[in-house]
Symmetry: C2
DNA sequence: TCAAATATAAAATATCACAGTTGAAGGGCG
DNA sequence: CGCCCTTCAACTGTGATATTTTATATTTGA
């Protein structure tokens, strides 16, 4: 039991660094649901004092990555099917919105950028789906929407989902192929200008990514 | 120019109090878009040290009420039609979700509770729409969904919208009637068990509430 | 008049003091 | 001898404050 692996941070802008370090750990599924963390421990691991960690943690609480317990401890929300379903519903609703917006303001260069991500060589060294590639594809797509409102909300959803990744990591390696196929399908639809088809493929992709955790979709 | 009116707070649980004081000020439209605030000023106004304010503000940043400027000041997001449209789209998408969920787990007592809010006497003393009654109706409805994921997201959307209320307050008094009519319509549809109709009425209500700020809906 | 240097004010971090909680050791009772 | 209750020590978050860093405004010198 060596706890979640968090990258150490360095110099100024400590708050921001602490936040992104913790956020990265979440996205990689390092925090198991139900884990309780202490500010002092986190501060030690990050090599800073408590102050920046406190602020970073406050933000993560607001984003749903941690929850405050009645005894004022910090806990990673335990697994909950209801919560999971809500996360999926919200993702389906909001990511559909940004996809439509992105499709409208998208040029050939953007398509090329997406293709470059898809064509990136996969890493066969790690078991489990290629988390970074998945994240990259979705968010370079969503960033094209340019929405300062919707993007942070979707990031928060991914963050909350990220904790549950802990469950499926080291387990479902076959997923990667399917995931990649969905990405290809989304991009093809966008190239053809068929936004409805792209949205349908995106919905399949999202539902699939919840498939392991939510038996009946 | 006497700045936003923020209620002073008292004893322990300072962070939570600071948060709800600031949040309340936002919801009442006390913060004009584009306002820049300093932590010290806020701390002084609230009568506490900077620490609780700092953490409260972090949460508000995560919820989109404040944004960090490059010069590490805090700013209330300036008015932006794009932002406004996104807020509306997100509300339409997410509040539709929770309405459906709420409708399923709703009993006669819940209906009665909603009716009680609607039948509350309006306050003719204040110009502008009755903000509290509006909030009460929507959130007692949404709370019935019991979603720990969706509710905080929607609250954040209302919070961001709240800053823009500053623009329409003291202006659109006629809205209240229309708003009330929508609420009645939503409730009637729910009583009849017609969820689709309730959702349609909700969408009208949301669109209307953005109407003053977004000319063409 | 403009630019560089400096002074001032605010924020970021670190540290400190305090109060509540937790969990385990120890003592008393069945 | 075993179980439960009490007690106490270590640990936690919270709020305050001191210190350092950074940005902005001001002044000074060319």
């Amino acid at each position: 039991m060596d706890g979640p692996r968090i990258q150490k941070i360095e110099q100024s802008k400590l708050r921001e660094s602490a936040y992104s370090a913790l956020r990265g750990a979440f996205m990689r599924g390092e925090f198991a649901p139900g884990t309780v963390v202490s500010l002092r421990t986190l501060a030690d691991q990050l090599g800073t004092s408590m102050t920046p960690v406190r602020e970073a943690v406050r933000r993560l609480v607001a984003e749903g990555a941690f929850v405050d317990t009645p005894s004022r401890k910090l806990e990673v929300p335990p697994f909950d099917e209801r919560r999971m379903k809500d996360l999926m519903s919200a993702r389906l609703a909001l990511e559909g919105l940004v996809l439509r917006q992105a499709a409208q303001s998208m040029g050939p260069g953007d398509i090329a950028g997406l293709r470059a991500i898809i064509d990136q060589p996969r890493r066969p060294d790690l078991q489990g789906p290629d988390l970074e590639a998945n994240y990259d594809f979705h968010f370079t797509l969503y960033r094209l929407s340019g929405s300062e409102v919707l993007l942070p909300m979707i990031e928060a959803l991914w963050l909350q989902y990220g904790a549950y990744l802990n469950r499926i990591i080291h387990e479902a390696a076959a997923q990667e192929l399917e995931e990649h196929a969905h990405h290809v399908e989304i991009l093809a639809a966008l190239e053809a200008g068929d936004i409805a088809a792209a949205e349908a493929a995106l919905q399949d992709d999202i539902k699939r990514s919840f498939g392991v955790l939510l038996p009946a979709v």
